[in-house]
């Protein structure tokens, strides 16, 4: 167990140990700049779910690290991630958050690009005769790969394939998508907010079972007894966090909902969904009704994918670093593509109850994270502790370090990856 110091030989990696990190990790702008380069521009970053760009020509604006990009689906069905920057004088070629287009035209001098990013047209081209080759001035394209509907991009052409990077997290992605209950999962809408704190404060929170009954006491007090009981994991020994490698981890809060296709029939459907059970029962076999209603709260866990995505029960949490002390969060509500309208509406209401700037959960999380950033400026070399549960952590059959869901196993996994990526050897 080493105490982190400001000794920077070996780069910033020395600021993190296996059970603690210097608070400087939240406050030092140089650390942040280095993270953009060594993490966000060097690994797979999630950019979209395929349901957000369903058709040929569908696009959305987003970011990889600090860099604005456009994600689209072209006519061949391929996904493209393009830097949102004209090759002529640098103007953004798209300022519509999402929509459908045949291509992108820069508003400044009308250079136009295809969905694949190829430069198609230049007005008054005679001035460029013998000066440029259009083939060499495509929009900069990132490498893109997808897994089970999740689209990732990277600036690096030489890193491992996405599936290798995801590794054992793939098992949990596959399980997560089972909440579609036979339908594809789709994004139904999103909340977006910013907080005055470093991105890693949010990264940690996704597998932080410890804060739940404290920060979310007012939410717990407002839900029905069955839902509150479902999330009473503080003393449930089966509620565990696994470290999955490559910075990924999963916090299991509702062990009986890990694999939603496993159903021994013993679980009572929640009475709060009675109106939906009654409605669906009119046209669907009981088995299917049960399958849909059991998935209403989503999967029984939060899967944290390093560095920017979490599959959290029934929504996606996406984090975007803005600066060392500001982070933007999106909470994307999920539904059943082609599924019953009443089910999708109920899922929206569940999402609104907890998430978003006026949600009963998010506003308190955001306040807690602001407080971390404010406090962490006091002696930035004093460590942040992520050692909870070290004494009871075990390695399970699958090879995953595992401890109780209230322990800090997930955070330790994130920081192990952070240290690896931030070291000078990398």
């Amino acid at each position: 167990m080493t105490v982190p110091t400001t000794d920077r030989s070996g780069g910033f990696a020395g600021l993190a140990a296996d059970d603690r990190v210097a608070a400087r990790l939240y406050t030092d702008p140089e650390v942040f700049d280095c993270e953009m380069e060594k993490i966000f521009y060097s690994t797979w970053v999630w950019v979209a779910h395929e349901s957000e760009i369903p058709d040929a020509g569908s696009f959305k604006m987003t970011h990889v690290g600090l860099q604005p990009v456009v994600v689209n689906r072209d006519r061949k069905g391929n996904f493209n991630v393009l830097l949102n920057r004209c090759r002529h004088r640098g103007a953004s070629v798209c300022e519509v958050p999402k929509g459908k287009a045949n291509g992108f035209t820069c508003p400044y001098h009308s250079w136009s690009y295809s969905l694949e990013g190829n430069l198609r047209g230049i007005p008054y081209p005679d001035g460029y005769e013998g000066v440029i080759e259009k083939q060499q001035l495509s929009l900069q394209k990132l490498r893109v790969e997808s897994y089970n509907g999740l689209i990732f991009a990277t600036f690096k052409t030489d890193i491992e394939p996405l599936e290798d990077f995801l590794g054992d997290a793939k098992i949990w992605i596959d399980r997560f998508m089972k909440q579609g209950a036979g339908f594809p999962v789709k994004v139904q809408g999103e909340h977006k907010f910013r907080f005055d704190g470093n991105w890693k404060i949010q990264l940690e929170n996704t597998t932080d079972g410890y804060h739940f009954p404290i920060v979310h006491r007012s939410w717990m007090a407002s839900v029905d007894a069955e839902t509150a009981d479902m999330l009473s994991f503080m003393t449930d020994e089966k509620a565990v966090t696994h470290a999955l490698g490559n910075g990924h981890s999963v916090a299991v809060m509702v062990p009986e909902h890990v694999d939603l296709e496993e159903d021994d029939g013993s679980e009572e459907l929640q009475e709060r969904f009675r109106h939906i059970i009654d409605e669906l029962s009119e046209t669907m076999p009981q088995e299917q009704v049960r399958r849909i209603v059991r998935t209403m709260h989503g999967a029984g866990y939060n899967l944290n994918l390093f560095p920017n995505l979490s599959l959290s029960m029934s929504f996606f949490r996406v984090l975007r670093p803005i600066s060392v002390n500001e982070t933007e969060i999106q909470h994307m509500a999920l539904g059943l593509d082609g599924g019953p309208e009443s089910v999708n509406r109920e899922r929206l209401r569940i999402h609104e109850h907890f998430q978003g700037p006026f949600g009963f959960g998010t506003s308190d999380d955001s306040e807690a994270w602001d407080r971390v950033q404010r406090g962490a400026v006091a002696n930035p070399d004093m460590p942040i502790l992520v050692n909870r549960g070290l004494g009871r952590e075990e390695t399970v059959e699958e090879g995953w370090k595992t401890s109780h869901v209230t322990d800090e196993t997930g955070m330790r996994e994130s920081y192990a990856m952070w240290t690896r990526m931030m070291s000078d050897d990398n």
Partner: protein, 185 residues
């Protein structure tokens, strides 16, 4: 794209002015409208005072209180909103804001809001629907926050009793980042 010839400047200058009544402005003198505006301003004061228990009594039992995400959405039920409260959710929200368990509510910004630019959208036998603009300034921990919104209030009037039957708050930044806050709009 249609290419109609632009109207000549003289024609625009000589066009008859829109009737004030058609803008809705003429209705501001209507006693029902005055009553509705009085209620909207009372609501604003109760919200700035964070007197949420008094605030919720201003609403009818069937009322909806909505902060949509998408700017032009009309079907709130099938859309993701920031808030989509019926009486039950409103009641739970008030409990949460006053009971002291919510750290964001305990540390909420002080707010001061101004509502103006009233126009009358509709008057029926027992309702008045007004649109207005709201500018809210909040202050917390050395930082100011500003939130602009277009408001729609439908007020139900029954004799001396006037209550809010629908409130829709369309924030100017609703589909962009809206920061979490421990207060109500």
């Amino acid at each position: 794209m249609t290419t109609e010839a632009p109207e000549a400047v003289e024609a625009i200058d000589n066009r008859p002015a829109r009737e004030p009544f058609n803008l809705g402005l003429g209705n501001l003198a209507d006693p029902r409208v005055a009553r509705a505006i009085e209620l909207i301003w009372l609501e604003a004061q109760l919200l700035d005072d964070k007197d949420y228990e008094a605030w919720q009594t201003l609403y009818t039992e069937d009322a909806k209180y909505v902060i949509p995400v998408e700017p032009n959405v009309a079907d709130f039920e099938s859309s993701l909103n920031m808030v989509y409260d019926d009486a039950r959710m409103r009641h739970m929200r008030v409990t949460r804001l006053v009971q002291g368990y919510s750290m964001s509510a305990v540390a909420a910004a002080r707010t001061s809001r101004t509502i103006s630019r009233f126009t009358v959208q509709e008057i029926t036998e027992d309702t008045v629907t007004l649109r207005s603009a709201q500018v809210l300034v909040g202050f917390k921990r050395d930082k100011f926050q500003m939130l602009g919104a277009d408001l729609t209030h439908r007020i139900r009037i029954a004799g001396d009793d006037a209550r809010i039957d629908l409130k829709v708050i369309r924030l100017v930044n609703s589909d962009s980042a809206v920061n979490a806050s421990g207060f109500l709009l």
